[in-house]
Symmetry: C2
Subunit: 340 residues, 2 copies
DNA sequence: CTGAAAGCGCTTACAG
DNA sequence: CTGAAAGCGCTTACAG
């Protein structure tokens, strides 16, 4: 492969001049610039990334830590990854991807060896054991998901509390008085998946305020168990007229469950989910839902991360915690309850 | 961050000795080794990846080119990515991920700048425009998917022809005489997705040989269109007793379509799909299927790639084209046709 | 406007 | 068994 030395020789200039001509970091005569550009083209020159990283202490690579946990639903995770990856590319960064179970190790490897300029953490838990490592690292970090302690990192998440209120208020306004909320599996809560109880607690509180009944339950993250869970809940609460779904696997299973029970939404049951529009299309879900905006959250995280990497953020500019306001996408699966 | 120089100083040895003590590439006295190890621990030393890459011309990174095309089904792609990523990690490699639409550009960027030691291509088309670039690159490449021309790369794929025959034979043996095959969208074929017609042609040929009828059709890659496609096909061929599905989106939509038509497999219709077991679980698909083995294919591709990277493959060892033999996973969705 | 030189942090022949 | 030095391919102060 051609090196900057080859370019310099062919262009008849010094290596530093060749380098400056390419970076544009100092004024270069039109003639020299042209000769360098020609040489670059003729030789098919591309800078060696390792050498550049060594000289500049910048890799133009972002580390992406994604975990595919047993109790979470993989296709939902993919959306976040693509949001991060595509935004990174637009901003001129590549993605070093870690999917291994041991996120601490992956994080340490990437940051200690200086393979990356910054880190995006997905799947953030309440007390995420990767956070202490990330805070120690010299590279900035951005999270998708809200931990208990946000110091030292930029944090982006859906406002799950608002989402819980919105779901309950929407159905309350239509006249519903007894609702069932299906959350993610209880393991997720135990592991520290705060988004579960953030939505759930807010929904419970909203129901209490409105004086209506809300049965908050957990559902499996897997088929076919989650289908059985849904049948069980519909059996257990026959008078409930509204179903709130904060569990992607449950949402994916619901069409089949409703068919099996010969129920139609919204005629027999009003349904509101919480998932992305892309997810709804993939799984052909006809239910109104709170948009979880994974692509937007991924974009926001990368944008802020790059601002910090490139020093546009100001050395000691405080870190941000930013919530995306949930919006209800109406797919016509809610209405006034039967006989109302 | 600590450098090898710091380690050497603290251990009271030269930098080369420190380096050799860590690599084990020459004999080191027990005493020196111990001092170096202690220094490494005390300083929290990790080698700088860029510097090492520059010195050794090895990055221990594999480039993974995945495309999320409009006419393909994203969750299916994810399986391949995880197979590649997890195997790479086991073998000590990290993954540089490109998801951008312009795969040629991504490939060139990664290989020219020497960011990676090798490349895995997913989503390979019959005449894939990334292949000429990959062949020119100094790094070895492994493909998941069979192109027309396999020179210069290692190729791994499901034996789609065998899969087509297996599907037809299986139903023929049970007594079926009229079948419908739903393939991926016709765009995929036009773009050069050879796996579509490889399975289809083999199925057609097998049907001809057995003297039975096979209606080969294309289906959309999206919900809800593909559901309508399925209804249309079942309307068009009311006497068909067997359904072959080589289209992930169609497989995902089928439970709903069958419910809507009040049909049960295998009582009313025998169904055989072609997708992975993981995919079946995610989408709760109760149909017998040809295992597409994405994780296994990802593993195979990475293993061979690493063999070449590390020179265990022998400089001019011929490239391989390896097919995974399809296996039918029996989920009980096939039986003798009604009234047989 | 341009060049010679130092330095980024490693590894590895070369010498002893 | 160990050390001094060269070199990987860049960038960027320093000098002119």
């Amino acid at each position: 492969m051609a090196t900057i030395g080859d370019v310099a020789r062919v262009a008849g200039v010094s290596r530093s001049t060749a380098s400056y001509a390419l970076s544009g970091k100092r004024t270069i005569s039109a003639d020299v610039r042209r000769r360098v550009e020609t040489a670059v083209r003729d030789l098919g020159y591309t800078p060696n990334a390792g050498a550049r990283a060594l000289a500049t202490a910048q890799t133009r690579v972002i580390g992406l830590l994604a975990q595919f946990l047993e109790d979470e639903f993989a296709p939902a995770m993919l959306q976040y990854m693509l949001g991060v990856s595509n935004t990174a590319r637009e901003l001129g960064y590549d993605i070093l991807l870690a999917t291994e179970a041991d996120g601490r190790n992956a994080l340490r490897r990437m940051t200690d060896s200086r393979m990356v300029d910054g880190i995006v953490l997905l799947n953030v838990a309440e007390h995420d054991d990767r956070l202490p490592i990330l805070r120690e690292a010299p590279q900035p970090g951005a999270l998708v998901g809200l931990p208990a302690d946000c110091t030292g990192v930029d944090v982006f998440d859906l406002d799950f509390e608002d989402a819980g209120r919105l779901m309950v208020d929407h159905l309350h306004r239509l006249g519903h008085r007894e609702l069932v909320l299906v959350s993610q599996p209880e393991h997720v809560v135990e592991r520290g998946g705060a988004y579960v109880w953030r939505l759930q607690n807010a929904a419970i509180e909203a129901a209490r305020t409105r004086g209506i009944t809300l049965h908050a339950e957990f559902g499996s993250a897997h088929q076919p168990e989650v289908g059985r869970d849904l049948h069980g809940l519909l059996d257990a609460y026959p008078r409930a007229t509204g179903l709130l779904i904060n569990n992607e696997a449950a949402a994916a299973a619901l069409p089949t469950v409703l068919h099996e029970r010969r129920l139609t939404a919204p005629a027999d049951l009003s349904v509101v989910g919480r998932y992305s529009d892309e997810f709804a299309r993939t799984f052909s879900l006809p239910y109104s839902s709170i948009e979880s905006a994974p692509d937007r959250l991924g974009r926001m995280a990368v944008r802020e991360l790059v601002r910090r990497i490139e020093g546009q953020a100001g050395a000691d500019e405080p870190h941000v915690v930013r919530f995306v306001t949930p919006e209800l996408v109406d797919r016509g699966s809610t209405a006034a309850p039967r006989g109302d």
